[in-house]
């Protein structure tokens, strides 16, 4: 039925457009002189006058209808049965199956009644939606047609409608973000009712296993995030140690030294590297880099864990090189040629010019490229899972196994969960801290970029 509804929407919108445009252009035949807007704008105005109410009505009526259908069907059953959520779900499934003619076995009279109710209310509500929608659409079309006149500023009105639609779309994005933050915040607060924030933020031990029965071994978990902070920091640090210079120098080469031809080859290749799925990089880290490092370490008589922060950090560094290099390349290219000319004309060589003029001018942009790359590294999970392990060691030794925020969140939430244990809730608290951290990074990056913009506008 909703397919029919939207077909009708399309037909009405197109009709409204053509009627609107025709009315305006038909009247125009004698000369455009006194018409404010072009016919196409009258058409667009009419079309959006039809489209928006029909869409909005559907968005409001469809969920209302769905809940009415359900409650009508459920009213056929014993209220005591319906009160239990699991029971209610099972009853609804059975009733739907019966209504669709796919129920195996003999239905009870209540079930039969519910199925009948489903069938009838569905038909009624969808016709209702269809009729209300069509009436609204036709009404809107009529209203739009009466407004079409030489003096009507259809272009400005359409502009306003566009603005409102764009605003609504960005509001959706913002509201989603706010919703996510609040749901995580809410769960985090629940977590803090079980574990004190002080223990959480400053505890030196992380082992989230809480026993189900009080007499089990290790019955209480430890929720100190310091080992995770250390692990995240260590891996990110190693990654940046590799990605920052490599990416920056690659960018300088591409922007300043490479011929256009070489640049057109290297840049896409680097961007392919950015597109490699992290799972693939993860097994590259675990199966190739980690054994290599262990081999080297043993030659020097070092004990290297088979899963090490170093292996994960190196591969993660390789993953984020393209972020650094591609963004830095863009900002270096954005440095005006006039500055380079000014420097050359003073007798500076190419490398002096890059060092003293180009890089300082591009510095804010480069810093923000680094920040973005860093928040990528902090948020990365797969490589760490596969190459650095799960052990929450509190160490800064890159040869040991460590673990990070994202890995712990993933580990905690994989598999069957009790949704109110401290263990499960701790994932939300971790997520919240992580969110806060990347927020700060992005904020710094944003501020730096703003300063950069001011300089050249």
């Amino acid at each position: 039925m909703s397919t029919v509804y939207f077909l009708i929407v399309v037909v009405l919108v197109l009709t409204a457009y053509f009627l609107g445009a025709r009315k305006a252009s038909g009247a125009v035949a004698g000369g455009r002189g006194e018409w404010h807007s072009l016919p196409a704008y009258h058409g667009l105005f009419s079309a959006s006058a039809v489209f928006i109410p029909m869409l909005a009505l559907y968005a409001i009526m469809a969920p209302l209808a769905a809940s009415y259908i359900d409650s009508a069907a459920l009213s056929q059953f014993d209220p005591a049965l319906v009160a239990e959520p699991l029971q209610r779900g099972a009853l609804m499934r059975d009733a739907s199956a019966l209504a669709a003619g796919q129920y195996a076995g003999a239905p009870t009279p209540e079930l039969q009644a519910a199925a009948n109710s489903l069938n009838s209310t569905r038909v009624v509500t969808s016709w209702l939606i269809l009729i209300i929608g069509c009436l609204a659409g036709l009404g809107a079309m009529q209203y739009a047609r009466t407004r079409i006149s030489p003096a009507f500023r259809a272009r400005n009105s359409f502009e306003q409608i566009t603005t409102i639609v764009l605003l609504a779309c960005s509001a959706v994005a913002v509201l989603t973000t706010i919703g996510i933050v609040f749901s995580v915040l809410f769960e985090t607060l629940r977590f803090f009712s079980k574990v004190s924030p002080i223990d959480f933020l400053f505890g030196l031990q992380w082992s989230p296993q809480t026993a189900i029965r009080a007499d089990q071994v290790g019955s209480s978990g430890a929720f100190g995030i310091v080992p995770l902070v250390a692990g995240t920091f260590l891996i990110t640090f190693i990654a940046m140690l590799i990605a920052a210079p490599t990416g920056l120098f690659a960018a300088i080469y591409m922007a300043e030294y490479a011929s256009p031809k070489i640049r057109s080859i290297i840049k896409p290749i680097l961007e392919i590297l950015a597109g490699v799925p992290t799972v693939v990089l993860g097994f590259f880290a675990a199966l190739t880099v980690a054994p290599l490092i262990r081999g080297w370490g043993e030659q020097f008589g070092l004990t290297v864990a088979s899963e090490s922060a170093l292996a994960a950090g190196i591969v993660m560094g390789m993953m984020i090189i393209p972020f650094v290099s591609s963004l830095s390349d863009d900002v270096i290219n954005a440095v005006p040629q006039a500055l380079r000319d000014g420097s050359y004309a003073m007798g500076a060589t190419k490398s002096e010019t890059i060092k003293r003029v180009v890089l300082p001018a591009a510095l804010p942009g480069i810093v923000s490229a680094m920040m973005l790359a860093m928040s990528r590294a902090v948020g990365e999970t797969m490589i760490v899972v596969m190459a650095a392990g799960l052990a929450a060691n509190l160490t800064l030794n890159p040869l040991e196994a460590v673990t990070t925020f994202t890995v712990q969140i993933k580990t905690i939430l994989v598999g069957d969960q009790e949704f109110d244990s401290a263990k499960t809730l701790s994932a939300f608290a971790l997520g919240f801290v992580l969110f806060f951290f990347t927020l700060i990074l992005n904020f710094i990056a944003l501020r730096v970029v703003q300063r950069y913009r001011e300089q050249y506008d």
Binding site: A338, G342, A345, M346, R356
Partner: protein, 271 residues
């Protein structure tokens, strides 16, 4: 075009050349951008301690020739220069000549002010630092201050030498660029339409400044304003489609041009 129209109509040897030493001698210079022939068999003598103006319709090669005097054309891959340009009798296209040193002797000011996004002080100190001119920190400060004074900018910025050069007004920025060029003690200063991005008042200040410093430098200024050429220069060269059509004393050029094309341009018939 036959050879006779290519040879510049010398206005019986400009007077100014008889009074001053010759600083730059160009002989049969040709400049190409790939296939495009931008300067054709150009020969000119440019006097020291005077202002020479290059005028002509846009695209006639004024900037191109100017940029071949400090070899800025080297930075354009497709650009090729043939012929000889001599500064103080020494060919600047010689293999053993170091462009770094050449550009320290030949300063340049661009059409659009292009201060570096550094402090005012650092902008002026840029050249001295690169060329190791200052012996000490005090020395450097001395150079910066005297350069700013010569560019008649010091009084306006003396309290905020640590502010960004880009925070100045357009005219101040251009004077900062002149100070930056002066700071390395050049002998020649090339200016490519230095006032075209400025308002009339800022332009007038630059013109005044050029007039003040001309005793000490060989200045070449490209300009699209004939009034400006008439006001600031002692010698004017008129370019047309890659040819140097005519050059001579400015006052004569504007009163009694020898060539029909010069006359048309000056009287505003094209350009």
């Amino acid at each position: 075009m036959d050879a006779s129209t290519r040879t510049p109509t010398l206005s019986h040897n400009p007077r100014i050349l008889a009074e001053r030493e010759t600083k730059i001698v160009a002989h049969d210079v040709n400049v190409y951008y790939g296939e495009k022939h931008a300067i054709k068999d150009l020969s000119i003598d440019i006097p020291d301690r005077a202002v020479s103006a290059f005028i002509g319709p846009s695209g006639c090669g004024k900037s191109t020739f100017l940029r071949s005097i400090n070899r800025m054309n080297d930075t354009i891959p497709s650009c090729r220069v043939t012929g000889d340009i001599l500064v103080d009798g020494k060919n600047i296209y010689d293999r053993d000549l170091d462009v770094v040193q050449l550009r320290a002797r030949v300063g340049m000011v661009f059409q659009k002010p292009n201060p570096f996004p550094k402090s005012i002080f650092e902008n002026v100190a840029y050249g001295p630092r690169i060329h190791g001119i200052a012996k000490s920190k005090a020395d450097l400060e001395e150079i910066v201050v005297s350069s700013l004074k010569k560019a008649s900018l010091f009084d306006e910025v003396k309290d905020r030498l640590d502010h960004s050069g880009t925070s100045l007004s357009g005219g101040q920025q251009q004077r900062l660029c002149i100070a930056r060029a002066i700071a390395v003690n050049p002998e020649i200063i090339l200016m490519d339409e230095p006032c075209s991005a400025l308002d009339p008042i800022a332009s007038a200040r630059i013109e005044e400044l050029i007039d003040e410093i001309r005793q000490n430098y060989c200045i070449i200024i490209v300009t699209h304003s004939m009034q400006q050429a008439a006001r600031v220069s002692q010698l004017t060269a008129f370019f047309h489609l890659g040819d140097l059509v005519e050059f001579g004393d400015t006052d004569e050029m504007f009163t009694t041009p020898k060539d029909k094309r010069t006359q048309d341009y000056i009287t505003g018939r094209f350009g």
